[in-house]
Symmetry: C2
Subunit: 219 residues, 2 copies
C-alpha cells in the first residue's frame, strides 16, 4: 500500500461521568507517560488497529482499564483534530463519553472523580472535550432517559428526579416529572419493592427495556 502523505496519531479520549455527593463528576486519570506525565487528564490511549475492531472498542479498553468494568452507557461524542491539540504533532482524537453509576465504583476510583463544574486545569484540548461532553449530556437529558444510567439498577422516583435536575442544571416540577417519565414508559416499577425509612416507603423502579428511546417531541 503506497502512502504519499504523512499519517496522524489516532487516539481515543473518554469523558466518564458519575454522580458523587449529588454532583455531576468526571473520572480523571493521572498520566503515566509524557507528555504531561503525572498530570490529571481524561483517560485515553492510542487506537491499536491490530486489536481494535473499531474505535469504540479502543474506548471500551480504556474504560475497562480505568474502572475495571464496562460502562452501562457509552456513546461516541466528537472527533477532535489538529496540530495544536497534542505537542507530538497533528493528531486525531475520537472522544467518547460514558455514564457510570457511582454505586459501581470503589473508593479509590471515586477519589479521582471531580465535579465537572470545578475541574483542575486539563492538558491537551481536554477542556474542550469536557465542554462538549457536558453539553451533549445536558442536551440529551432533556429528551431521553440518559441520566438514569448514572443510577444503580434500582432507584426511587425522587432519586431519578434529582439526577435529572443535576444533569440538566435546572429545577423540574416534581408532579410533572413523575407524570411524564411514567407516561414515556422508560422505567418500570418493581412490584412490591420499596425503599424504607422513617417515612412513607418509596416505590423502586428500574430502567425498562425501551429505556433508550428518545422521548417524543413535536414542532
Amino acid at each position: 500500500m503506497e502512502r504519499t502523505f504523512r499519517q496522524p496519531l489516532v487516539m481515543v479520549d473518554t469523558a466518564l461521568f458519575t454522580i458523587r455527593d449529588e454532583h455531576l463528576c468526571l473520572i480523571l486519570a493521572r498520566r503515566q507517560e509524557p507528555p504531561f506525565e503525572g498530570v490529571l487528564a481524561l483517560p485515553g490511549g492510542f487506537v491499536h488497529i491490530e486489536e481494535d475492531a473499531d474505535t469504540a472498542m479502543a474506548a471500551r479498553r480504556v474504560i475497562r482499564h480505568k474502572i475495571g468494568f464496562d460502562a452501562p452507557y457509552l456513546e461516541q461524542l466528537f472527533t477532535f483534530s489538529g496540530a495544536a491539540r497534542d505537542p507530538r504533532g497533528w493528531s486525531v482524537s475520537i472522544a467518547y463519553y460514558a455514564l457510570i453509576p457511582s454505586s459501581l465504583l470503589d473508593q479509590s476510583q471515586v477519589a479521582e472523580a471531580l465535579p465537572a463544574a470545578a475541574l483542575p486545569p486539563l492538558p491537551f484540548d481536554h477542556p474542550q472535550i469536557v465542554a462538549h461532553a457536558v453539553e451533549r449530556l445536558r442536551s440529551k437529558a432533556t429528551y431521553s432517559s440518559l441520566p438514569a444510567f448514572l443510577l444503580p439498577g434500582t432507584f426511587t422516583m425522587n432519586e431519578l428526579h434529582r439526577i435529572y435536575e443535576q444533569t440538566i442544571g435546572t429545577r423540574l416540577d416534581k408532579a410533572s416529572f413523575r407524570h411524564k417519565i411514567l407516561e414515556q414508559g422508560i422505567i418500570e416499577p418493581l412490584s412490591d419493592q420499596f425503599r424504607v425509612g422513617a417515612h412513607r416507603p418509596a416505590q423502586l423502579y428500574r430502567l425498562a427495556s425501551k429505556a433508550l428511546t428518545p422521548f417524543e417531541r413535536k414542532i
Copy 2:
C-alpha cells in the same frame, strides 16, 4: 517521533443534503480512482495533515471541490472506523453532513442529487453513513431551525413548512407550525416583500441571526 504501532488511513466523507422536486436528496460523486472507480459514492478524500488545520477543513475542501462553494451549514456527524469499511485496510473516516440550498446548485450537480430514500448501492460503509446522517437531520429538525438551511435566502412560510415536513417525514399542523416558528424567532419577515401569484401574496422571511439556537424543550 517514535511509533511502535501501525497508523490507519484517515479520511473524511460528506453527506450533502439538498431538496429537489420536494424530495430530500443527497449529492453523490462518481469516484475518480480505485477502489470502486467510476462508482457513485459520498464525496470524500484524505485528510492532508500538512494543509488541514482540522478535519472540518478537509471536509470543506471536499465540498468546495464538489459544488464549488461552501455549504451554509456543515456539522461533524460521526467517525467510522474498522478494517472492513475500506478494502485498503483499517481506516478512520470522519463523516460530516451539510445542507445545501438547491437554488445554489446548477443543473450538472443536481443531476447527481438522488433521493435519500432511493439511493443506488453505495461502496464502503457509505450506506451506514447515510443512515446516520438522515437520522441526525430528522432528529435535529424536530427541535431546531436546521431545515431552513435547505432553502434559499428568502422563503415563504409554506415553503418552510413543506421542508420541515419533508425532512421530518410527518405531517405538521399549519397553524401550530407558523405560531411556533414565529415565536421562536428563528426567522424574520422581510418587511414589504412578498411572493406574488394568482392568489393572496405570501410574506417573505429570512433566517434570523439567532437561527441556530435549538428550540426550548422541557422534560
